[in-house]
């Protein structure tokens, strides 16, 4: 999606940054296994992963400000769908886990789930205005 200034929400620069962030997180998660749990280097690598994740999440959100009013509305609808959908899925799984289904690590699963629902919400809202 590009506006008159050629600004895009799927700019190759963002894709490269996202791949770079993912590479740092994967490298840190492998690297931290060389250190004892609770040791300073392992905690430092965990903090690094967290900081990269924050940048990875906040970057695309901030880029929405550069879109025009309809494109912002489309992303607002997509985010609302992702927010509500994630709440429904996590809460439902919480009850199902309590009923005996296998445990899901939502610390790792929540963000991919929310991102997938954002993409689905984007396709839904974008189609409505196309």
């Amino acid at each position: 999606m590009t506006n008159e200034s050629g600004r895009s929400c799927h700019n190759p620069r963002y894709i490269l940054l996202a791949l770079g962030a993912a590479a740092i997180i994967v490298a840190a998660s492998f690297g931290e296994k060389a250190f004892e749990r609770g040791s300073a280097p392992r905690i430092a690598l965990a903090v690094l992963e967290s900081l990269v994740t924050v940048a990875f999440i906040v970057g695309p959100i901030l880029s929405i400000r550069r879109l025009d009013e309809l494109q912002q509305r489309i992303h607002l609808i997509a985010l609302a769908i992702a927010f509500a959908g994630t709440g429904i899925v996590v809460t439902t799984f919480g009850w199902l886990e309590a009923a005996g289904l296998p445990h899901v690590d939502w610390g790792l699963a929540t963000w991919p789930l929310m991102t997938a629902l954002w993409a689905i919400g984007f396709l839904f809202a974008n189609r409505r205005y196309s």
Partner: protein, 68 residues
């Protein structure tokens, strides 16, 4: 909301992309306004009216409702 935007644009021989460039929005936004799928914000509606040198009600007709 009914609009004469498409007629005004084609009278001038502009493509949707040309108009989008003049308004500072995406072509998708111009298309959605022309087809009545999206009602522009007040600032954008004024910008459109100024571009075509018409009063805002000369471009948009709020009486012709469009259910969204």
């Amino acid at each position: 909301m009914k609009t004469t935007l498409r007629e005004l644009r084609t009278e001038r021989g502009w493509s949707q992309g040309d108009l989008a460039g003049r308004l500072g929005v995406s072509r998708q936004t111009v298309n959605a306004i022309e087809t009545g799928k999206y009602d522009p914000s007040l600032p954008l509606a004024f910008k459109i009216a100024r571009l075509f040198r018409k009063p805002i009600e000369g471009v948009f007709d709020p009486e012709e409702g469009h259910r969204r």
